[in-house]
Amino acid sequence: MIGFRDVSAGYRRTRVLERLSFHIEKGEFVFLTGPSGSGKSTLLKLIYHELKPLSGEVIVADFSSNRLPRRKVPYLRRKLGVVFQDFALLENRTAGENIAYALEVTGASRTFIRRRVSRVLEQLGLADKEKCFPNELSGGEQQRVAIARALVGEPFILIADEPTGNLDPAISLDILRLMIEINTLGTAVLLATHNYGLLKGREDFRRLHLSSGRLVFDGPNGNFAPSAPPAEI
């Protein structure tokens, strides 16, 4: 589903990720952890192709970073759902409109959009919030709207970059439970966080751990023991 093959990546001046290799299979739930600045967001950007690898290959479904013209990128993104720490909702649209937006840009029919939106609102317990604007919703509700928008196009994977970063601990756990529930319905989840509280008691969840741009652990959370951090270069 998602494959990183010897991927290095970075920005104009800085090299951030060094030779990562891993796979995420259909329906998996994966935590991506690592200290601030270790490259978690950069790794996610590679998946939704906001960034191209410097070397190696990123495979997303049947798209490969090595053979992906820029005009095809939107079609890759429609197979993903992405959520962020700051929710990224349009302030002058209601919850329902924000969710519908993801389908409108794909040119879906009006009736299809309406059906899908009410399905997702129902699923995420937002049915009574459809007509609310983002500033009329709590942070947790806004993040649920963002998740609903990510899911409305029926992606095979939900990618979350620090989705609980702006939420208090109790609400953060709610969001995590919601994502686990979504996962049980078949959607893979890749959840990047440095809020290690979320991982407590989730011993058999898969965890990827980054340190200074290297993948230093890949295994069940219960066995977490990152290999020695790479020597300074």
Binding site: Y48, P74, R77, R78, V82, N92, E104, V105, T106
Partner: protein
């Protein structure tokens, strides 16, 4: 298409201040350009009006041979820039003179001979009413032995030359400068308006909107905003010329076509500005 239009109109309500700012900047720039063009237009009308008076008069000796005069008339008519050569006989000239004098014409009542000479009155075509061409024709007329004297307002013509030159040089450079400033102003306004909406562009991209889809909604919006600015400018120019015509002096107005051009120019500038500013956000992967 309907959805795009809806997006574009929604765009007006988003980032309201920025939209208004872009519209006002476009409107103001076009207003200044329009008024400048109007001023040039009127200067040109004035020049043409003044130039209409350019006439070369060649006075003929009384003993001129009529057949030679006829040949000379044909010869002069064929010169470059000459639109018309009229022969005015002594009698005609006297009558004109009398008419000019009006009530005082009694003074000429009892003349035994007609003292007013016959003449060629030569008019030049538009675009040839300058010293260079007029002088050439005057010299040619002077060359005929039966031409006594040629008169064409030498000094006045030279002053007209300088005036025309100044109008075209100043008009062109000031116009180019104004145009450049307008383009810079409008494109910065559009750039700011689009920058204020980069979050929206990011969201569109992240949910899988194609660059074309994003472009379409922003371009339509840019066009509509620009056209609105153009409409504003056209309206103000219309109001200004109407008031000026009524209260001050009649002037040459924009033809209706130019009002349409102003609106279109606004739209196109908005379109181009949006296209260029958007590129920055869409080029990245």
């Amino acid at each position: 298409m309907l959805r795009t239009l809806k997006e574009a109109i929604l765009g007006f309500t988003r980032a309201k201040t920025m939209s208004l700012f872009a519209i006002l900047v476009t409107g103001f720039s076009l207003l200044v350009l329009g008024l400048f063009y109007l001023a040039l237009l009127n200067l040109n009308t004035l020049i043409r009006y003044l130039e209409n008076k350019v006439e070369i008069v060649a006075y003929l000796r009384d003993n001129a041979d009529q057949s030679e005069v006829g040949l000379a008339l044909e010869d002069l008519s064929r010169l470059e820039g000459v639109s018309q050569v009229r022969y005015m006989s002594k009698q005609e000239a006297l009558d004109n003179f009398r008419a000019d004098l009006g009530p005082d014409s009694d003074l000429l009542q009892d003349l035994e001979t007609n003292p007013v000479p016959a003449s060629f009155n030569i008019n030049m075509k538009e675009g040839y009413r300058d010293t260079l061409h007029v002088q050439r024709v005057a010299e040619r007329a002077q060359a005929f032995s039966f031409v006594e004297e040629v008169d064409y307002g030498r000094d006045w013509l030279r002053r007209m030359d300088i005036f025309k030159h100044m109008v075209s040089v100043v008009g062109l450079s000031a116009g180019a400068l104004l145009g450049l400033v307008s383009i810079i102003l409008i494109s910065s306004a559009v750039k700011i308006a689009i920058f204020s909406r980069r979050k929206e562009i990011f969201i569109m991209k992240i949910v899988g909107a194609t660059n074309w889809y994003i472009r379409r909604s922003f371009l339509l919006e840019g066009f509509l905003k620009g056209a609105l600015g153009g409409l504003l400018a056209a309206g103000l120019i219309f109001a200004a010329t109407t008031v000026f015509n009524d209260r001050v002096i009649p002037i040459t107005n924009f033809s209706d076509r130019y009002y349409l051009y102003t609106v279109l120019a606004g739209g196109l500038l908005g379109l181009a500005g949006s296209w260029i500013s958007l590129g920055r956000y869409l080029r990245r992967v």
